[in-house]
Amino acid sequence: MIEHHLPALQVLLPLFAAPLLMFLVRWPTLAWALTTAVCWATFLVSALLLEAVWAGDPISYAHGGWEPPYGIEYWVDTANALVLLIVSGISAIVMPFARDSVEQEIPRDRIAWFYTAFLLANAGLLGIAITGDAFNIFVFFEISAIASYALIAMGRDRRALLASFTYLIMGTIGTTFLLIGIGFLYMMTGTLNLADLAERLPAVRDTSTIRAAFAFIAVGVSLKLALFPLHLWLPNAYTYAPSMVTVFLSATATKVAIYVLLRFFYSVFGVEFSFGVLPMGYVLMPLALLGILIPSIVAIFQADVKRMLAYSSVAQVGYIILGFSFASTLGLMAAMLHLFNHAVTKAALFMALGAIVYRIGSTRIDAMAGIARDMPWTMAAFVVGGLSLIGIPLTAGFVTKWYLLLAALEAGLWPIAVFLLATSLIAVIYIWRVVEAAYFRERPAGAAPVREAHPALLLPTWTLALASVVFGIHTALPIGAATRAAEILLGGYP
C-alpha cells in the first residue's frame, strides 16, 4: 500500500515536516534530530524509487486520483530517480555534519527556522525533479528559491545579505522567464502535463510562439543553473552562505535545474526540434566551452578557497552542458554521470572547508597555511576530493572525463578533446595552490593552535570523499543509471 504512494511521500515528507519545526524553536537539537530523520526517510524513499524504476517501467502517480493530463502527475523514471537520489542522498549525508556547523554559525534562536527553510528548499528541489507538470515545476522552483534566499542570508558575514539579494533578483528573473515560457506553451496546446505537451507540440511547433516559449524556458532555466555568462549570482551566494548550505546547494540546486533543461530539450520539445530545427548545439557548445575556460582561470586567482570552489562549480556546469550539447547518447550519458559524480565530489570538498571554518573561522588561503599539520584528516579529505575534481584515474571525476572525451571524439570534435584535457590542468593549478599552502607553508604568525575537527564533521566528509573514490572504481551503479537515464531522455515520453 505504502509503496504505491512513494512518489507523493518523496515531496510531502519534507514539505509537511517543515512547518512542524517551527514549534521547536526552543529545542534546536530536537529540530535537528527531526530534520535528520526526515532527510534519511526521503533518502530511503528515493532509493526505493530508483530500485523500482531500474527494473521495471516508469511510475506515474496521479495526485488525488485526478487522472493525468487533467490532474497533477508525478512521473518517475531512471533519469529523475537519479536526480532525486542525488538531492536526498546529499541532504541525508550532510545532516550529521550540520549539527555542529550550524550551531556555531547560526544564532541559537534561529536554528529551528534555519532547518525549516532547509526542508522547504529540499522539498522544492525534490518536487522539481519528480513532477510531471510544467506549472508545478515553476511552483517548486519558487519554493526552493525563496527558501534558499533565506538560507543564504543567514551566513556568518554581512555580505551574505547582498549575495542573497542578488540571487533573489536573478532567480526571480529566471523563474519569471520560465513562467512566461510555460504560459506560451499552455496557450498553444491547452495542457501543462509534460508528457501531454510532448505529444501535442509537434502539431504547432512551427510557430513563433513556440519558438519564443523555447527561448524563455532556455534562458530562464539557464539562469537558475548558472550557465556562463548567467552565473554571476553564484560565486557570492556560495561564498557567503553558511557552510552547510553551500554543501547542499552546490551539490543539488544547479543539478536539478540542469535536469529540468534536459527534460525540456530532450523529452518535451524533442531532440529533433531542439538540436535540428533550432541550432541549440551551436548555442550551448560555445557557452559551455567559455564557461569551462573562463571561470577555471578566474578560480586560480581567488584568495578565498570557498570562492575558488564556487567558480570551479560554474566550470563544472560547463562540462555537464558540453556533454548535453553533443546531443548523442554518449554525450548525454557523460552529462548525467557528471551530474552525479560532481555532486559527490564537490560536496566532499565544501564539507572539508566547512570543517576548517569550524576550527579557524575563515576559508582564506592565507589563514589555511600549514593547517594540514593540525587537521590532517580534514585536509586529506580535501586532497581526495581535489583529485576527483581534477579527474585523476581511480576517482569518480576521471570516469566522467573519460566518457566526455569519448563523446567528443565520437562526434569527431577532437579539438574539444584537446581543450578538455588542457582545462583539467587548470584544475590542477587551483587545487594545488591550496594543497601547497596547507601542507608546505608555516602557520601564520600569532595563529592560535587548532585541533582536528570533530568526528561528527569528519565522518560525513570522509563518507563523501571515499564515495568519490569508490564511484571511480566500482562504476557499475553510476554508469548503469546514467546510460539508462540518457536513453530515456533521448527516447522522450512513452
Partner: protein, 485 residues
C-alpha cells in the same frame, strides 16, 4: 605459490609495509627495519614470478573492471619482469642507504618520506606488470603524485619550486598528450591490451598513427625527451635516496619502459617502421643525447651533472625503440638494467660525499679520494658502467644498441652513440681525477673519513653489481628475447 598470486602479493607488499611504517612512526628503529624487510620481501616475491616468465609463460591477474572493456589487470612479460626485478632489487639497497643518509644528513619527517617511497615502488611495480595501457596509465599517474612530496621534502622555496615544475610537467604531458593518445587508441582499435605484434596494424591509418606516436612519445614525460626534460634536473632538490632510486631508476625507467612497451606491444615494430614520425622521434632522441651531454659538461653541481647525464642516457633507450628492430629493442631493455646499476652508484656516491663533507660541487672535490677512497672508487666503477667501458655491464647494452643501428642502416646513429661515449668520458671522469690526483684544497690531512657504513656499504654493493652485470648479460639477453616469441 602460483605466479598469479605472486603478482598480487608483490603489489600488496609495499602497501602493507607503508601501513606498518606509519604505525611505528614513533619507533624509528623498528620502522626502518620494517622498511628493509618490506623491500626484501617484495624482491623475493617478484623473484617467484621469474621462472614462469623465463619458461615463456605470461602469468596474469585481473583485479577488477573499471569501465566496460577496461580492466585494471596485470600480465608479466620479459621486459616488465626485468624492470620489476631492477626496481624492487635496488629498493633493498636504497632502503639501507636511505636510513644512513636521512640520519646522517639530519633530514626531517622520516616516516612521511619512507611511506611515499613505498607508494612510489608500488606504482613502479604496477607499471612493470600492467596488462593494458590503461592500467599502466593509472599507475603512471600514481607514481607522479606519490613522488611529489618526496621532491618537495625539504619544504623550502627551492624545493617547492622544483616540485611544482616536476609535477606540472609530468602531469601536464601525461594528461595533455598521453591520455589523449590512449583515448584515440581506444576509440580507433577498441582495445588497449599489450599484444604481441601491436594492435594498430590494419586499424589505424599511417597518418593518424604518426600523430599518435608523437602524442605517446611526448605524453610519456618521464622519458625526458627534449624539450620536456626540465623536470629531471629540477627534481634534484630532493634528498639523494630519491634522486638515486627514483630519478635514476624507478621513475625515469618507468618512462622509457613505457616507451618500449608502447613501441613493441601497441604499435608493433613492423608498423612503427612505416611511420614518418618514427624517424623524427629518432632524431629528437639523438639530439637529446648529445645536447644533454653538452649541458652536463657545464654543470659544477655534481647532482645536476648526473641529472643531465640521465636525460642523455634515457634517450639511448628511446632511440633504441625508434630503430624499430628486435636487436635494438633488446639493447634498450638491457640498458634499463645496466644504466640503473651505474647511475644509482653515482648518485649514492654524491649523497655520501654530501653526508660526510657537505660538499655538492665538483670544483670542491679536489683530493677527496684520500678522504673517501671507497666512495670515489665506487664512483669510478659507476662512471665506467655509464660510459659503457669494459669490464662493466654498460658495455653490452651499448653494444646491442649499436648493432641495432647497423641493422637499420642508420650510420648517423652509430656516430651519435660513439660521440656520446666520448662526452660521457669528458664529464664523468674529471671528478675522479680531481679526487685522486689533486691535493686537497682545504689542506685536509686527516685519514680516511667516510660517510656512515649504511651509506658506503650500499654504494659498494651497487658498484660491484655493475661489474657483475658484465657477466650476466647472456642470461639477460635470453630473458629479453622472450619479448618476440
Amino acid at each position: 605459490m602460483s605466479a598469479g598470486t605472486a603478482i598480487g602479493l608483490a603489489l600488496a607488499t609495499p602497501l602493507a609495509g607503508m601501513l606498518l611504517m606509519l604505525l611505528f612512526a614513533r619507533l624509528p628503529n623498528l620502522r626502518d627495519t620494517v622498511m628493509v624487510l618490506t623491500a626484501a620481501t617484495m624482491f623475493t616475491v617478484v623473484l617467484q614470478v621469474l621462472p614462469e616468465v623465463q619458461a615463456g609463460g605470461r602469468p596474469s591477474l585481473e583485479l577488477f573492471e573499471l569501465m566496460p572493456g577496461l580492466a585494471i589487470a596485470f600480465e608479466v612479460e620479459p621486459l616488465g619482469m626485468l624492470f620489476a626485478l631492477v626496481a624492487s632489487g635496488l629498493w633493498i639497497v636504497t632502503a639501507l642507504y636511505a636510513i644512513g643518509y636521512m640520519r646522517g644528513a639530519k633530514e626531517k619527517h622520516h616516516t612521511r618520506f619512507y611511506a611515499f617511497f613505498a607508494i612510489a615502488l608500488f606504482s613502479a611495480l604496477g607499471i612493470a606488470f600492467a596488462k593494458n595501457m590503461f592500467t599502466l596509465f593509472v599507475f603512471y599517474e600514481i607514481l607522479s603524485i606519490s613522488t611529489y612530496p618526496l621532491v618537495a621534502h625539504k619544504g623550502n622555496e627551492a624545493a617547492k619550486r622544483g616540485a611544482r615544475v616536476y609535477l606540472g610537467l609530468l602531469l601536464g604531458t601525461s594528461i595533455g598528450f598521453q591520455l589523449l593518445a590512449i583515448l584515440l587508441t581506444w576509440s580507433l582499435t577498441g582495445t588497449l591490451d599489450f599484444t604481441d605484434g601491436g594492435i594498430m596494424e590494419g586499424k589505424v591509418g599511417h597518418g593518424v598513427g604518426a600523430i599518435l606516436l608523437l602524442l605517446y612519445m611526448y605524453g610519456i614525460g618521464k622519458a625526458a625527451l627534449m624539450p620536456f626534460h626540465r623536470w629531471l634536473p629540477e627534481a634534484m632538490v630532493a634528498p639523494t635516496p630519491v634522486s638515486a632510486l627514483l630519478h635514476a631508476v624507478a621513475v625515469v625507467k618507468a618512462g622509457v619502459f613505457t616507451v618500449l612497451k608502447v613501441s613493441i606491444y601497441l604499435f608493433g615494430l613492423d608498423y612503427l617502421q612505416e611511420l614518418v614520425t618514427t624517424e623524427w622521434v629518432m632524431y629528437i632522441a639523438a639530439f637529446t643525447i648529445v645536447a644533454a651531454s653538452l649541458v652536463a659538461l657545464q654543470q659544477d653541481n655534481l647532482k645536476a651533472r648526473l641529472a643531465y647525464s640521465t636525460v642523455s642516457q634515457l634517450s639511448y633507450i628511446v632511440l633504441g625503440a625508434m630503430l624499430a628492430n628486435q636487436i635494438a629493442a633488446i639493447g634498450g631493455g638491457m640498458h634499463i638494467a645496466m644504466h640503473a646499476f651505474g647511475k644509482i652508484t653515482l648518485f649514492f656516491c654524491a649523497g655520501a660525499i654530501y653526508v660526510a663533507t657537505k660538499k655538492t660541487d665538483i670544483s670542491q672535490m679536489d683530493g677527496l679520494g684520500r678522504r673517501m677512497p671507497f666512495t670515489m672508487g665506487a664512483f669510478l666503477l659507476g662512471a665506467l658502467c655509464v660510459i659503457g667501458a669494459p669490464p662493466m655491464g654498460g658495455l653490452w647494452s651499448k653494444w646491442h644498441l649499436i648493432l641495432g643501428a647497423l641493422d637499420s642502416g642508420q650510420q648517423l646513429m652509430i656516430a651519435v652513440f660513439l660521440a656520446s661515449t666520448l662526452l660521457n668520458v669528458a664529464y664523468l671522469i674529471p671528478p675522479v681525477i680531481r679526487a685522486f690526483l689533486r691535493p686537497p684544497q682545504d689542506g685536509y690531512t686527516g685519514g680516511i673519513q667516510e660517510a656512515p657504513l649504511l651509506c658506503v656499504a650500499p654504494l659498494s654493493f651497487t658498484a660491484l653489481g655493475a661489474f657483475a652485470m658484465f657477466f650476466l648479460a647472456g642470461p639477460l639477453r635470453g630473458l629479453l628475447e622472450g619479448m618476440f616469441p
